[in-house]
């Protein structure tokens, strides 16, 4: 199997079909990344398509100092940011809408239910993080990228990428601990009540 760099050289030499191979190789990962930030499949598809077109147009500028995947992610994040801004104008919401946590929970709620609520709470908290912290956290935890790759994608120094990730995780840790501490030393109902209070209401 040819490497990305070999395929890029072929495209630069005029072989369009090699780009098709690059699209097949990276479209899934790029769609997943776009979905994380847009939460909307149609919008994510647009971002993927636009990112590949931009990558093709600017391929002569790709010098191979970072991996093609990092470069592509970088383009996709910038595209997503611009699209999001265009869509919502200056009033771009800080967070993406999510469903409210159900308030009436059966006292005998199963652990699965608690876990689902916790997942919802964490997703809401991740969405509330400042943009750069959210990107660093997403790329590290969900995309499993190294800090070097994250720094390349975010176009920032290595230590800045790490600091963004650290702030994000410590913030989430503090929020989760506060939620658990306030529940009256572990009573299930108290925990759930706190959870429903902690998740802010969002206009849908």
């Amino acid at each position: 199997m040819k490497s990305d760099i070999e395929l890029i050289s072929e495209v630069k030499a005029g072989n369009r079909k090699s780009f098709s191979e690059l699209v097949q190789r990276h479209q899934r990962a790029l769609l997943r990344l776009s979905l994380r930030f847009t939460k909307e499949q149609a919008l994510a598809e647009d971002i993927v398509q636009e990112s590949f077109i931009k990558a093709y147009q600017k391929l002569h500028l790709f010098e191979g100092r970072s991996s093609f995947k990092s470069w592509l992610y970088q383009i996709a994040l910038n595209t997503a940011r611009n699209k999001y801004r265009n869509r919502f104008g200056e009033n771009a919401p800080e967070t993406v809408n999510y469903e409210d946590v159900p308030l009436g929970v059966d006292p005998g709620a199963e652990t699965g239910m608690l876990r689902a609520d916790m997942r919802k709470f964490i997703r809401a908290e991740v969405d509330r993080l400042p943009e750069r912290q959210r990107i660093a956290l997403t790329l590290r935890i969900f995309e499993d990228l190294s800090f070097k790759e994250i720094a390349e994608i975010m176009q920032c120094p290595y230590d800045t990428a790490k600091a963004n990730y650290r702030h994000a995780l410590l913030k989430l840790k503090a929020r989760i601990e506060a939620l658990e501490l306030n529940d009256g030393m572990g009573s299930e109902m108290g925990w759930i009540e706190n959870l429903s209070k902690a998740v802010p209401e969002v206009d849908v």
Partner: protein
């Protein structure tokens, strides 16, 4: 230099986060491993960080389409759009740099001055 953190552990959260992410130097990592065995507070801090990281990971819900045809369609759409684009290596004729020596205007002025005022042949003086 060690520092006593707010919950009585020897190191603060940043150290343990570095440890968790595998970002510490090997020698320091070994030291912290020994510390972990002896300090319940530090062990607790590390466990808590690990737990939060796992909770965040578990909260992931992005479900990608599974159908292979979906990706074939997406690929075809992308390639159709790319067919309309000029090849990445193509350059328009008029964009190509022209190989001609460009002289700055100051150089041109100096050359004109020299041509006008400097004698072409140096004057020869015969002192003898």
């Amino acid at each position: 230099m060690s520092q006593v953190s707010m919950w009585g552990g020897l190191y603060d959260e940043n150290w343990w986060l570095e440890y968790l992410e595998g970002e510490l130097e090997p020698s320091l990592k070994e030291d912290l491993k020994i510390l972990l065995k002896n300090s319940p507070a530090d062990r607790n801090c590390l466990n808590q960080l690990e737990r939060v990281k796992n909770l965040v990971k578990e909260s992931d819900e992005e479900a990608l389409p599974e159908d292979g045809r979906y990706y074939d369609d997406l690929h075809d759409r992308i390639m159709a759009a790319i067919e309309e684009e000029p090849l990445a290596s193509e350059e328009k004729e008029e964009d190509k740099p022209v190989n001609e020596v460009k002289r700055s205007w100051t150089a041109s002025v100096w050359c004109a001055f020299a041509r006008r005022w400097m004698p072409v042949q140096p004057r020869k003086f015969d002192f003898y």
